[in-house]
Symmetry: C2
Subunit: 251 residues, 2 copies
DNA sequence: TAAATAGTGTCTCTCAGACACTATGCA
DNA sequence: TGCATAGTGTCTGAGAGACACTATTTA
């Protein structure tokens, strides 16, 4: 069977239904901790279990569907179809038969990076929504195959920080190098050498650009005022900021 | 509307049909030229236009659907559900409304790397199938949004050669360093320095392992016999083989 | 005044790339 | 014998990481 023959014989009325949904792995950093947006399911199956926010695709692009779901859960405006300062990219699709006990559902997962956002107001029909530190999420806690999706999203996020400037999507429009370093530390789960990180970031063309201003105060426990930077125009980091060599997770 | 409320109210009989298909960007290197498997469409729309091989998803995983489509077009056995020596990975999903003029189709695209294969025998209902050098494919020649899918697949392939050992999927079970270099040259479209490439490949742990044997003959126009290698057990190249710096495609 | 942090200087080691060179084997 | 190719040696420059140090600000 191929596409051509299939489509001509196709009648949705007599074909097993397939549903297409989007699920969003929305990451942010709250109080220095990498966190993901989860909703509590209000109905069976997996009633009262945590799940990634998501829903079915309407008459819209997949990207728009993901933006819409994210906006619904976070309560943020989707101004002109764009959530301000949120990076969104497609992650992967999941379509194993049986991943949803009710019917065949192919889910297109998205990955979102957001600066620290206020607590979400629960969407109308979800029992609740919250930013949950990823370190506290055990393997079996999420509904459906969402643990797998989350794991894939985290790995993608960690890899992307190396060669893309997306760390800036986790901070405000103006930020210090130390704030940027905290993003890397939270996502990678490793502290980075402050001096070397500083020099490295400034040496990558287009990663950040100075604003000419500094913070109003030094650190809470002392220290000079830090220079403020904006995201630059680079789309790729050249050379990349490589993770501290995890060595033998290579085979 | 969210997933829970939606699913309870859901009846496939009265919901706009969405179809899920897989399309495969199958790449190989024939006579030193990067080529992709294309089929000629036998029916409208896009009748007699070239397209990526693909078809609708049955009661199977997405990966299995892609394997099946690939096996159907190439005529290769899918032994134990695995096409021998073919690497297959999910690429991206495409679901813009209107990308198929007949109905809403969400297509999950796959990327396949294969060693040089014989000419495909046309599948029963496709007008024909062939390996086509990618350099000869003009922007508007492919059906649907398949040009876009192909472009995304090529970019993924080029990037993957840098940090994964997948170049070995393009050659036979035993190969010379020069053959491996030809793969990189074909995919990246740039010649690589033979001496440096040689040393670099051997310096990456687990990329290749020697067989202790050599080719039976030297090159057609002279030269010593080359040592033969097998693919090693590394899943990631550490350090990576970076593309000759394309410099300012960075912004 | 003590402590913490921003930012810089410097050294070492590794690696990429350029170039040169030897060895091998085919026409 | 001439030439193309396999494979190695060596040099240079760039960058990563370790470490040290100065300057600035807060409690």
């Amino acid at each position: 069977m191929n596409e051509r023959a299939f489509l001509e014989a196709y009648d949705p009325r007599d074909y097993p239904a397939v549903a297409v949904s989007v699920d969003v792995v929305a990451l942010t950093i709250r109080d220095g901790v990498l966190s993901v947006l989860l909703v509590e399911r209000g109905a069976a199956p997996f009633r009262s279990r945590l799940a990634l926010p998501g829903g079915f695709v309407g008459d819209e692009t997949l990207d728009d569907a993901a933006l819409r779901e994210l906006a619904e859960e976070t309560g943020l405006d989707a101004t002109n179809g764009r959530l301000a300062r949120v990076h969104l990219e497609q992650l992967k699709s999941y379509g194993d038969p049986g991943r949803d006990p009710r019917m065949r559902v192919v889910s297109v997962a998205y990955l979102a990076f957001a600066p620290s956002l206020p607590d979400p107001r629960p969407g109308g029909d979800a029992a609740g929504a919250a930013w949950v530190p990823v370190a506290t999420i055990s393997e079996a806690r999420l509904a459906f195959d969402h643990s797998r999706i989350l794991a894939d999203g985290l790995e993608r996020a960690r890899a992307k920080l190396e060669y893309s400037p997306l760390a800036t999507a986790f901070v405000g429009p103006e930020f210090t190098i130390a704030e940027l370093r905290a993003v890397y530390a939270a996502v990678w789960g490793e502290d980075l050498h402050a001096g070397n990180f500083h020099r490295k970031v400034l040496s990558v063309p287009g990663f950040v650009e100075g604003t000419g201003t500094t913070t109003a105060r030094g650190g809470d426990r002392g220290g000079p005022r830090a220079k403020l930077y904006r995201a630059g125009d680079a789309r790729v980091l050249h050379p990349p900021l490589l993770r501290p060599t995890s060595e033998e997770d290579v085979r």
